[in-house]
């Protein structure tokens, strides 16, 4: 019996043990996601990759593919929920794209474009989150953090440094730096760390290179995220 399931009517092959998101990515089918990264263990927290399997909703980054599953992803219902989640991420932080160096290369922004997010819809929180500019090479702008935990996972599992952590619970969850002072300068974090490369939004920024790529030539100016990320890159 062949290992396949259907995704929006399309037959998708999978290796036993693979998740739905992994198999879809290999087949070139994009499922929106923010906290998933192919090189890391899934976190399953952003819920953008939610799909409907045999009529029930679940995160496709943590759900193993099984023979004969009927998976729905690009439906009006699911995309409306994905859009609502994205809008909540926008109003909970301070996401001002015109002044953000990551604009045009930002997965949150590109995903919002993909989902046709025309407005944030909800009331803004406008939280007060001071930036950390203490490190000589890297700026931390917590205003844009979406709590995907990719930097936490990269620093802990790849760099072996454990520089970042998520602290607090529920709506008070926030990213912290594991140093007595709480400042990035007081850690052994360097630009060469994997954790410096994985931020999908504009929190971890290399200093002195902002806006180096002109508008029109940035990653998601050239192609929408659905075409750029379909391979799971």
């Amino acid at each position: 019996m062949s290992h396949t399931f259907t995704l929006d009517g399309k037959t998708i092959p999978f290796e036993p043990g693979e998740t739905i998101l992994q198999a879809a990515g290999r087949a070139g089918v994009y499922i929106p996601h923010l906290c998933y990264h192919p090189e890391f263990k899934p976190h399953g927290s952003c819920k953008l990759c939610t799909v409907k399997i045999n009529g029930r909703q679940t995160a496709s980054c943590t759900m193993r593919a099984m023979v004969g599953m009927v998976v729905e992803s690009e439906t009006e219902e699911i995309n409306a929920e994905r859009r609502a989640l994205t809008q909540m991420l926008f109003v909970e932080g301070n996401h001002f794209c015109p002044s953000c160096e990551k604009s045009g290369n930002c997965q949150l922004q590109a995903t919002a474009y993909h989902l046709g997010m025309m407005s944030p819809h909800y009331d803004h929180f406008y939280p007060n989150r001071p930036v950390d500019a203490s490190h000589p090479d890297v700026l931390l702008d917590f205003n844009r953090c979406i709590l995907c935990s990719l930097c936490v996972r990269a620093s802990r599992d790849v760099d072996g440094k454990n520089v970042f952590a998520l602290s607090g619970r529920g709506i008070k969850t926030h990213l912290i730096v594991n140093a007595k002072s709480g400042r990035l300068a007081d850690t052994d974090f360097t630009l060469g760390d994997k954790a410096a490369q994985v931020c999908p939004v504009g929190v971890i920024l290399k200093k002195r290179q902002g806006f180096a790529v002109p508008i029109g030539e940035r990653t998601y100016d050239k192609a929408p995220i659905g075409e750029t990320l379909a391979e799971g890159k």
Partner: protein, 182 residues
Amino acid sequence: MSDKKKLKVATTSLAGCFGCHMSFLDIDERLFTLLEHIEFDRSPLTDIKTVTPGTDIGIIEGGLCNAENVHVLREFRANCNILIAIGACAINGGLPAQRNHLPLTTILEEVYHTSPGLANGRIPNDPELPLPLNQVHPIHEVVKVDYFIPGCPPSGDAIWKVLTDLLAGREPELGHGLMHYD
């Protein structure tokens, strides 16, 4: 089309920089085509001061930073059938909202009083001046907004696309290339 009644369009800039209006003018010679189908009511382009009841489309640039902005926004909502938020500031507060994490008193003190070169400066308190709001807010937090054109500013092409979609009775859609938050 010529014997059809022209649609009335009103525009204003609240806590904005008029950049979105400049971008509107960037539709260039297409303005002539547009003017075959619409006429301007209250707008910086006409200098008409109040919105005529029954105006078809209201276009709002900028967010809400003071009481007068709220008053004008409510006048637009009360008199326009369709309200469009144009640009980052109308949609999420934009640049003026960068003050939102600072107490208003601190800002006024620094701008009018404690900054160097402002010896004995006083915080303006003329009854003619609209009172600032504690925080800057996007317009959808105060009134129902029907359509949004994001961008800082949105390109002339994006504005043209939305207006022509509406004139043709289609649901406006921007798509890749025209959809920008920056």
